[in-house]
Structure formats: structure tokens, C-alpha cells
């Protein structure tokens, strides 16, 4: 039975690849002019520093941003944001600025889906903050629940200055090793939204309707 299946898989694969190979011989596909560059090298020094650009883009998307000068400042900020709320967080040791010390009694990756779904606020770190689009990048991993940035109605992400990069390409270059090792990578660019009904903008459809970024030193 299993070998029968395997045989069918291979047959479909071989058939498709044979058809494609044959098709390539007659395919009418335009060729690039010889002088056209194949890659885009952006100016390495952007006109505007990444931090300012990130904040500007993020605000335009409706992301609330807070800039903190010290680790203590970040902790205080998070404390005021999560106070009296049910929190679903990444494992504390994976959060920067010793945030574990202020987050107690929180729902974690290892807890049940039902408990996670009841959380009112999700707290995560991030692996990159992309300035030109105001985007947060998060690689999957142990203790870094992907659902923490998706299920609760509010998402608080903590970023370090060193997470900032100009573009997604730069992020890919900087994190190529980690990216290869991760099963998935999520880029989040603002609150969840839809415009499916008469192109009227509605926020918080499936993901969080509120996204807050706290940027620490």
C-alpha cells in the first residue's frame, strides 16, 4: 500500500517535470535587456536613521510606540501596560530587559490553547524591527509562542535598538543562520485589518486590534 502510494507520487512528479521540461523548449518568455541590473543595491546609509523611520512608519500604521532609555524604563512601561490583565507571554527568559522579573502568573507557550485564548494581552520580544515598513519580525522557537502575537486582542512587543534594520533584505542577511534554523518567521506590520466589506477599514479581525511596541536601549 505504502509503496503503491510512493509510486504514484513519483509518477506524478516525473510526469509534471517532463511536461515542464518539454514546455521550456517552446516557452515564449521575454529576456532582460543586457544592461539591466539583476539586483538592487540600496544606498547603505539611509537618509533618515532607522529608529526615526521605524517610529514614523509604525505610527502611520496605528502602532503605538514607546521609546525607553533604560531597562528599568522598559520594565515600568510594560508593567503599566499589562497591569490587571491576563497576560500570554513568551517564556520570561527569552524576553529582554529581565522582564521575567515583573511578569508573574502569566500564560506561557506550554499552557493549553484554551488558557491562551483567554488572555487579554500578548507580550513578546522580537528578532527584528524593519524601519522602512514599520514591521516586527519574529522567528519561531522554543518558548516563543507564535500564538502570543495572534490570539489576544492586544499585542505588546519589546524591541531592542539592535533589532532595528532598514529593510527586509537587510533582516534576511543579518539573520540568515537563525532564519534557516527556524520553522517559521512572522512579519507583523500593524494591527490586524480588513477592508473586505465595501472597502471600509476594520481593525482587529482575527489578530490583535492594538499593537504596541516598546523600544528599549
Amino acid at each position: 500500500m505504502a509503496s503503491e502510494k510512493a509510486w504514484q507520487v513519483n509518477r506524478a512528479r516525473d510526469t509534471i517535470l517532463a511536461r515542464v521540461r518539454l514546455a521550456e523548449r517552446t516557452a515564449l518568455l521575454p529576456r532582460a535587456p543586457a544592461e539591466m541590473p539583476r539586483h538592487l543595491e540600496f544606498a547603505s546609509q539611509p537618509a533618515e536613521p532607522c529608529l526615526e523611520r521605524f517610529q514614523r512608519e509604525a505610527r502611520a500604521l496605528g502602532i503605538e510606540t514607546f521609546l525607553e532609555a533604560s531597562a528599568a524604563g522598559v520594565r515600568n512601561r510594560i508593567k503599566t501596560l499589562v497591569i490587571n490583565r491576563r497576560v500570554f507571554s513568551w517564556d520570561p527568559e527569552l524576553l529582554p530587559y529581565d522582564l521575567g522579573s515583573i511578569l508573574d502568573n502569566v500564560v506561557l507557550s506550554r499552557d493549553t490553547r484554551q488558557e491562551q485564548a483567554l488572555a487579554e494581552i500578548g507580550v513578546t520580544g522580537c528578532d527584528g524591527a524593519i524601519a522602512e515598513t514599520g514591521t516586527l519580525a519574529m522567528l519561531s522557537g522554543r518558548g516563543k509562542s507564535r500564538a502570543a502575537a495572534l490570539l489576544p486582542p492586544v499585542h505588546v512587543a519589546v524591541a531592542q535598538r539592535s533589532d532595528l534594520c532598514l529593510s527586509m533584505s537587510e533582516f534576511f542577511r543579518k539573520k540568515s543562520g537563525k532564519l534557516r534554523a527556524a520553522a517559521s518567521c512572522s512579519f507583523i506590520t500593524g494591527p490586524s485589518r480588513t477592508a473586505d466589506i465595501e472597502l471600509t477599514l476594520t481593525v482587529g479581525v482575527h489578530g490583535p486590534g492594538r499593537v504596541i511596541v516598546v523600544i528599549g536601549p
Binding site: 507520487v9 506524478a12 512528479r13 510526469t15 509534471i16 517535470l17 511536461r19 515542464v20 518539454l22 514546455a23 521550456e24 517552446t26 516557452a27 515564449l28 518568455l29 521575454p30 529576456r31 532582460a32 539591466m36 541590473p37 539583476r38 539586483h39 538592487l40 507557550s109 484554551q114 485564548a117 522602512e132 519561531s140 522557537g141 522554543r142 509562542s145 507564535r146 500564538a147 495572534l150 527586509m168 533584505s169 534576511f172 532564519l179 534557516r180 527556524a182 520553522a183 517559521s184 512572522s186 512579519f187 507583523i188 506590520t189 490586524s192 485589518r193 480588513t194 477592508a195 473586505d196 466589506i197 465595501e198 472597502l199 471600509t200 476594520t202 482587529g204 479581525v205 482575527h206 489578530g207
Partner: protein, 466 residues
């Protein structure tokens, strides 16, 4: 008398609600696109690089598919190949059965529309729910999406309210915020229960074996995160070479589709979660679907496989604006539908589609990868003539044209004949109802009668007079 396409056109054009909805939506989306591109430095170059990256990739599609397959397998994903829709569906049904799946949730995907996957899963006794808001409404209304990006562009907010009231028993509302909340509450329970997530792929990155998905609502994230099993159904043409290229494609995709710099959720999936990780699917399956694509690659419209399904050409197309998506009769509508549908399903039953264009070129202008859509429409028209798919009158008329218009004397004679017939039929300078081929003309406008003395006669008379 009139073809199914013409009947659908007439039905759409008689629907005032549809037409005003289309007018509003396409104009808005078109404006947003234009503004978004003004925020992109080097946009022309980015479009060119993306275009030719795609063309070069397609030139060696077989090699790229194998590299992609290996990269996916290295990441721990299972790769399947499907020659056509039914086979793709049965692969997915098998995966679902083996995984004891009772409920599958889907994020927005055109290719599962193409294969009618929902029906196949339901037939196999499984529940399947579309989770993109627009697709969910479409599924509740038992309809089909009419726009690649905005599936319910044809519905008003009150239409949506009525569908939800009737099908899920919520109080009627025509407030988009409330309607979205209904959907959120309802769909949340499905996300939490589902055993299988089904998605398409916006891009597949050959270099790294990565599937890229974009959504705005976050359903793409949910579907690839919460269920135990993630199944990707993708056309074999959806590849891009490297992550650096992916960055460029994402820049032009969101701008062209919705006028955003980047969609809210961009999810890269490379494989199942590691054993000691708590979140993400345990199994990732990727099904590579041909279903006519290799056939398109072999022909004159191979270029269309570079399409990234942004929908910009729909919003720009004056024909689409008048008739909407359903009139195109299949999954893909608008200018790309007019090329993709005959390519996937054969010209024989779809020859009307390439004909229904004034070749105005608005689509080519907005296409982020600069597909020469008018050129492809023309070559499909040519192929349909070569396959003998035109009417007898048309064939005769064109054969006659070919003979007459290369002989100045015959040409003069026939022009004089037409002039005589038309001028004899009316004393006026205009004909209100014309016979034969010209009847279509006078259906909606008057026909100017040929001049008593044509230009060459006037020119010669003037020369003699000088």
C-alpha cells in the same frame, strides 16, 4: 444565440447595484495603488528586476522546482505533486484522513477555488471553513469570489448583513465593524478546534524552501500556527529565486493589491516545528499543482505565469469595471483571467474571454511585473482562429479583407460599393440601424455614413485644380 459569456455579461450589466459597487471599489483601489507606488524609491527598477527574475526562473522551471523540492524536504516538509485539480484534492483528502481531521480551516487561496477543494473535503465528510472575512461570506452565501483581492467586491454591506443573519443567525447589521466582529467570534472557535490548516502560497522561495503567505486579517498566521497539520496547495509557477527577491516582490505586491507598503501579516513557513517547540504544526505538506500550467508554459502566453495575483489589472480594466468578476465564468477574472482561464481549460469553451477587450493597455501599465497582457490577448485570438474557433461569417469577412485590402483596385471598388449601399439607405449623414456586422455598432451609437467623395478623390481633384 448568445454565448454563456454574453449572457453573463448582460446579467452583470443589468445589475445597477453591482456596477456602482464596482465603480467605487475599483476607483478607490486604483488610487491607493498609485499613491503607494509614489512612496517606493526605484520603483521602475524594482518592477523590472522582479519581472525578469520571474521570467528567468520560468525558463528553467523544472530545475527550480527540483531545487525547491529538495530545500523543502531539507526543512522537514513533505512534498507532493498533482497533475490536476481532482488529484490535488485527493492527496489532501488522504492527508486529512491519515491525520484524523474533522475540521479544516483555510486562509484565502485562489488555487483551492480552482480545484474546488472545499467540495472535495466536504464530500469526504470533513468540515472546512474559509477564514478570510470575504471568503467566509462567499462560503456562507454559497457563491464564488469575484475579485482576487476583494472577494466580495460585488456585495454591499447590507447584502453581507443579510447573509450572516440568514446563515449564522446573528442579528442583522450593516455596520462593517459589527459584521467583522460576528465573523471574528465565530471563526475564533474554528481556529481553536481545527486539526488542519490549508493555505495557498503567495510565493515559494527556491533558495531556502520557504513558503510565503500574506494576509491582512491574521488568518494566515492562525491557520499556519494553530492546527496540527498545515497543507499548502500551490501552483508550480509561484516560485521566486531568493529571499532577496522575495523582499522586492513583497514591496510591489502589497502596493499593487491594496496600496499598503506591506501587508499586515507576512508569514514565512519552512517546515514543521521542532520536537521540543510548543507552537506550529507537526506536519507541513506542500502540494505542487500543475493543472494546465505546463501547458501555458509551452505556449505563447507563458509570460502570464509571472503573474503575482495582485489584482491591479482588474481595478484598471474598463471591461472588468463594467462586468465584474463573475462574468468571466471561472476562478480568475479580469485581464489575467482572460488569459489564464483559456490557458488552464482550453480555448474552445473560453474563446470569448480574450475577445472581450478593447486592448487599451491599462492592465499592462499597472502590472507590477509589466506583463504584456494585450500582446497575450492578441496571440490567444490568433490561436483561436488557427484552431478554427471563429464563426463562418467572420472567417469569410476576414478572408475577403485579406484579399481586397492588398489590391488597391479591388479595395476602391468595395469601398465604393459600401459607400453606395450605405448612402442609398439614408438621406442623412448618420445611420441609426445598420445591417449585418454593423448591427452591433448601431445598437449603442450612430454610424457616420461614408463621404460622397473620399479623401483620395478630393486630393486628386485638388491637385488637378492647382
Amino acid at each position: 444565440m448568445s454565448s454563456p459569456f454574453q449572457q453573463r455579461v448582460l446579467a452583470a450589466m443589468g445589475d445597477q447595484g453591482l456596477r456602482s459597487a464596482l465603480d467605487r471599489a475599483t476607483a478607490q483601489l486604483g488610487d491607493r495603488r498609485k499613491n503607494a507606488f509614489s512612496s517606493l524609491d526605484h520603483s521602475d527598477l524594482i518592477r523590472d528586476i522582479s519581472r525578469y527574475a520571474k521570467m528567468d526562473l520560468l525558463r528553467d522551471l523544472s530545475g527550480n522546482l527540483q531545487r525547491f523540492e529538495h530545500a523543502l524536504q531539507d526543512n522537514g516538509a513533505q512534498v507532493h505533486w498533482a497533475e490536476d485539480g481532482p488529484r490535488a484534492n485527493s492527496i489532501i483528502v488522504d492527508i486529512a484522513r491519515q491525520g484524523r481531521v474533522k475540521l479544516a480551516v483555510k486562509s484565502k487561496s485562489m488555487v483551492t477555488e480552482e480545484t474546488h477543494l472545499n467540495e472535495a473535503l466536504e464530500h469526504a465528510g470533513m468540515e472546512v471553513v474559509d477564514t478570510d472575512l470575504g471568503e467566509y461570506i462567499v462560503q456562507l452565501a454559497r457563491s464564488r469570489p469575484s475579485h482576487i483581492i476583494a472577494p466580495i467586491i460585488h456585495m454591499s454591506r447590507a447584502d453581507v448583513g443579510r447573509v450572516m443573519e440568514q446563515r449564522i443567525g446573528v442579528p442583522f447589521s450593516d455596520d462593517p465593524q459589527t459584521l467583522a466582529r460576528y465573523a471574528r467570534e465565530r471563526l475564533r472557535t474554528y481556529f481553536l478546534r481545527a486539526d488542519m490548516g490549508i493555505t495557498g502560497a503567495n510565493f515559494g522561495v527556491v533558495e531556502t524552501g520557504t513558503i510565503c503567505l500574506v494576509t491582512n486579517e491574521g488568518n494566515g498566521g492562525m491557520v499556519t500556527t494553530l492546527p496540527r497539520i498545515h497543507v499548502v496547495l500551490m501552483g508550480i509557477e509561484k516560485l521566486v529565486p531568493t529571499l532577496a527577491h522575495l523582499d522586492l516582490f513583497l514591496k510591489i505586491l502589497a502596493r499593487s493589491a491594496t496600496g499598503q507598503k506591506l501587508s499586515v501579516y507576512t508569514t514565512l513557513v519552512s517546515g514543521p516545528r521542532a520536537r521540543d517547540h510548543e507552537s506550529g504544526p507537526e506536519e507541513v505538506h506542500v502540494i505542487l499543482l500543475d493543472n494546465g500550467r505546463s501547458n501555458i508554459l509551452a505556449g505563447e502566453t507563458a509570460e502570464i505565469l509571472g503573474c503575482i495575483r495582485c489584482g491591479a489589472c482588474l481595478n484598471a480594466c474598463p471591461v472588468y469595471k463594467n462586468i465584474g468578476g463573475h462574468a468571466y465564468g471561472d476562478t480568475y477574472s479580469g485581464p489575467i483571467g482572460a488569459i489564464v482561464t483559456p490557458g488552464l481549460k482550453g480555448l474552445h469553451d473560453w474563446k470569448d474571454l480574450p475577445g472581450a477587450s478593447s486592448l487599451c493597455g491599462a492592465c499592462r501599465e499597472v502590472c507590477p511585473v509589466r506583463l504584456d497582457i494585450p500582446k497575450m490577448l492578441l496571440s490567444l485570438r490568433k490561436t483561436s482562429i488557427e484552431q478554427g474557433l471563429s464563426t463562418f461569417d467572420m472567417r469569410m469577412a476576414m478572408t475577403a479583407f485579406g484579399i481586397v485590402a492588398r489590391s488597391p483596385n479591388l479595395y476602391r471598388f468595395f469601398a465604393a460599393l459600401v459607400r453606395w449601399v450605405l448612402r442609398r439607405s439614408t438621406q442623412q449623414a448618420w445611420v441609426k440601424t445598420a445591417p449585418g456586422l454593423a448591427a452591433g455598432w448601431t445598437k449603442v451609437r450612430d454610424l457616420k455614413v461614408p463621404a460622397a467623395k473620399n479623401f483620395q478623390q478630393q486630393w486628386r481633384a485638388r491637385k488637378r485644380g492647382k
